[in-house]
Structures are given as structure tokens and as C-alpha cells.
């Protein structure tokens, strides 16, 4: 009787082990499933409350560097504005007023991780501010990630510092483009792949976003070339030093592509 009970106990332990491991693997594969539970809304609200306050403490200690960064960005934008104003004045007689392709929504980072293989950010903008899943997040110095879940006041962003994330990038000058992915080792290094062998690449060349998606606008400077090497004899793999320091991120912009719906409709029709 005792041995039968022992056998039954072992079998149920094995079954429980398999069941728990299967559930865990399913959760890993279906990353978004937990976010869909109603109770997660309350959990995330409580967490966001804590993260908002702790991020303010962190911001207080970094405010000087952040201020300098914003001043530099402001200066760059002013210079661009002057150039655009001059160009617009010249075109005014012939130009047709069109809606801009992108709208930028400012946001603050309240939580950010950089030390995992799949990093993320939490931003203080949500559904009420018009944020939707699939929107890109950028700064003046790089692509940051893609909005993956949205609550009323916050959104969850899959960071570009994730080994399963990529951004379509192009080289200044040649315009050769390919997917750029994080190396997973240094928070400031990425690899630009699939660049044809005949394209000349020099250290220091700038890499920009290509704009070949509805996620990131074109021509955002992403980084500079460190070195290149031929991979599998058919293309170049370029090591890129990212311009944006993900460890000190505070202010970002969420990108709304105003043509997204139209483009998605077009893709649907083409299928």
C-alpha cells in the first residue's frame, strides 16, 4: 500500500513538473499573453506608480547631462527649422499643403532595462494620448524600440536592445541598406547586416534609419561605423557604435505614422 502511494506521488510529481514547465514555455513563446489578463492592468498601474517616482529620483541625479542633451537637440532642431523655413518660402508659390507623414508625441521613460537579452522600456504615455501598439519610439540620436502593449496612461516598449528586434538602416553616401540588430553584448553596439561586398565602408561613416517601414521615420542618425567584415563571402557585417546611450535615456518621442492605416489597407488589398 505504501509503495503504491509512493509510486502515485512520484507520478503526480512528474506530471506537475511537466505541466508547470509547459505553461512556462508557452508563456515565453506567447510573450503578450500575460499582458492581456485583466488583473495585469492593476499590477502595472501599481508598478508604474513606483517606477515614476524612482525614475524621478534617477532623473534628479542626471538632470545636468539630460539638460545638455536637450539643449544640443534643440539647437539642431532650430538649425533644421531655419533651413526648412527658407525652403518653404521658396516653394510657397507652387507647393500644395499636405499633412505631415509623421507626428511625434513626447514621452518620459519611467523604466528601462539594458542588461538583459530582451530589454524593454515603460513610457508615461498611453491610450489616452493616442498611443497604439506597433508605433516606433525614437530620439534625435536613434531608434529606441516598438510599442508592444498600451494601458490607459502607460505603454510597454520592446527595446531595440533585444536580440529579436531589428531596424532597417542605411549607410550615408552609398545608401546601401540592411537590418541592424543589437549584438546582445554591449549596450552601445549593433551589427548592420546584408550590405553588399562592393559597397565601400569606412570607420566613422554614419548609419541612418532607412524609413522602409511604418515604424521609424527615415534619416534618423543611428550610429557610426566601427569596422566591417565580409560574412559568408556574400555580404558585409558592419559593427556600429550606437549614438544613443540607452543607459541614460529619459526623454523620447513616440512616432505616429499618419500613412500607416492607408499602407496597411494597401497591403491587405495586395494579398
Amino acid at each position: 500500500m505504501k509503495s503504491r502511494y509512493g509510486l502515485l506521488s512520484t507520478l503526480t510529481a512528474i506530471a506537475l513538473f511537466l505541466a508547470l514547465e509547459t505553461i512556462s514555455i508557452l508563456l515565453v513563446v506567447e510573450k503578450g499573453v500575460v499582458q492581456r489578463f485583466k488583473v495585469m492592468g492593476a499590477v502595472r498601474s501599481a508598478q508604474s506608480w513606483v517606477w515614476t517616482r524612482t525614475s524621478r529620483i534617477g532623473y534628479y541625479f542626471n538632470y545636468k547631462a539630460e539638460n545638455e542633451r536637450l539643449t544640443a537637440e534643440n539647437l539642431q532642431l532650430r538649425q533644421q527649422l531655419v533651413r526648412y523655413a527658407a525652403a518653404r518660402a521658396a516653394l510657397d508659390s507652387v507647393a500644395v499643403v499636405v499633412e505631415p507623414d509623421y507626428t511625434f508625441i513626447g514621452a518620459s521613460v519611467i523604466k528601462n532595462s539594458v542588461d538583459r537579452q530582451h530589454n524593454h522600456l515603460i513610457l508615461n504615455r498611453g491610450r489616452e494620448e493616442g498611443i497604439e501598439t506597433g508605433m516606433g519610439v525614437v530620439t534625435a540620436h536613434g531608434a529606441i524600440g516598438i510599442v508592444s502593449a498600451v494601458s490607459r496612461h502607460y505603454c510597454y516598449v520592446l527595446s531595440l536592445l533585444g536580440t529579436d528586434q531589428s531596424v532597417s538602416a542605411k549607410l550615408a553616401g552609398s545608401g546601401a541598406f540592411g537590418p541592424m540588430v543589437w549584438t546582445g553584448k554591449q549596450p552601445d553596439q549593433a551589427i548592420l547586416r546584408e550590405i553588399p561586398v562592393h559597397v565601400t565602408v569606412a570607420p566613422g561613416d554614419t548609419v541612418y534609419s532607412s524609413g522602409f517601414s511604418t515604424i521609424y521615420p527615415p534619416d534618423i542618425p543611428l550610429g557610426t561605423v566601427v569596422e566591417s567584415k565580409v560574412s559568408k563571402g556574400s555580404s558585409q557585417e558592419i559593427t556600429v557604435r550606437l549614438m544613443e546611450d540607452f543607459r541614460t535615456l529619459h526623454n523620447v518621442y513616440i512616432v505616429k505614422d499618419n500613412r500607416r492605416e492607408e499602407l496597411e489597407e494597401l497591403y491587405e488589398q495586395a494579398r
Binding site: D115, Q117, K185
Partner: protein
């Protein structure tokens, strides 16, 4: 250790793990975990079913509260909890089975405690790091990350175990 003391200890270590996950940036090379330390301290009198469920709860709780990829810590925690009794018998002492409510360093000695801890930490980190890195990182990176993380996590757990044994 009495029951309220047990619960308080688990809550405090879990909160410390949350702070480590959320605010301590050690870079992609080191993953610091206290989950195996928590699993080691689940009372020895508990049956394996209970231990696995508790480990699953700790892991999933950590996944959700630190906003990581849900399931990763849960998977590693259950894999660590399942053979806990076997390793306890093999590495610590079969005779001590069920004699202590919670395993303390002073009861079993540093060497036995440390080797039991390092095995649990290694199982946990092997599962976690493989799940995190497999097919995207080279074997060399995975091996270095595993070794550095095992050393760092074991050292931190031992540091916590010393004041714990003096307290109880």
C-alpha cells in the same frame, strides 16, 4: 525559524531580487539571481509538489513584477525545485532529512551548504541563460555569462546566508 520569520525572510529576499532586477545594471554578461537561494530555503518538510508550485509562483511573480519575459524565471525555478530533494540527500546529508524546518549554514557547515547552493544556482542559471540566449548568441558568450553569473549569484547568496544563520 518560526513561521512568521520564514514568511518575512522570503518576502525580504524576494523584494531584494526585485530591486536587483529593476535597478541594478550589471550589463549583459552577469545575471544576478537569488531565486535558487529562496528555493533552497523552502522548508525541507514540504513535499516536492508543494516545492515546485512555490518555485513556479516565485519565478512567475518575479517575471511579472520585474516586467521581464513571462515564464523565463518560472521555467528555471521549477527546473531547480524539482531535483532539490535529490541533491539535498546527495550533497548535504540524508540523515538530516526532515530534521530542520529550514536549511541553515550553521547546521550543515559551509562546504555542504555552499556545494548544495552552487548546484541549485547552476541549474537555475543554465536553464535561464539557455532560454534567453540560445540561437541568438555564440556558445562562448553563453559559457562566460553562465560562469560569471553562477559565481556572482552564489557569492551574493552566501553573503545573505551568513547573517541569516546568526539571526536564527
Amino acid at each position: 525559524m518560526n513561521k512568521p520569520g520564514n514568511i518575512l525572510f522570503f518576502i525580504l529576499v524576494f523584494l531584494l531580487q526585485l530591486v536587483i532586477s529593476d535597478y541594478l545594471n550589471l550589463g549583459p554578461w552577469v545575471c544576478l539571481t537569488l531565486v535558487p537561494f529562496l528555493i533552497l530555503h523552502i522548508p525541507l518538510s514540504r513535499n516536492p509538489h508543494w516545492v515546485m508550485l512555490a518555485a513556479f509562483g516565485i519565478g512567475l511573480g518575479l517575471d511579472i513584477l520585474s516586467a521581464g519575459v513571462p515564464g523565463m524565471n518560472a521555467f528555471a525555478a521549477v527546473l531547480t525545485a524539482a531535483p532539490r530533494k535529490f541533491f539535498y540527500r546527495t550533497l548535504v546529508n540524508a540523515d538530516r532529512q526532515d530534521k530542520t524546518e529550514i536549511l541553515l549554514l550553521k547546521d550543515v557547515g559551509f562546504l555542504k551548504y555552499a556545494r548544495f547552493l552552487i548546484v541549485l544556482v547552476a541549474i537555475y542559471l543554465a536553464a535561464f541563460i539557455l532560454l534567453d540566449c540560445v540561437s541568438v548568441q555564440p556558445a562562448g558568450f553563453i559559457a562566460i555569462r553562465f560562469a560569471a553569473s553562477t559565481l556572482a549569484s552564489t557569492a551574493l547568496s552566501l553573503l545573505l546566508a551568513i547573517p541569516l544563520q546568526n539571526r536564527y
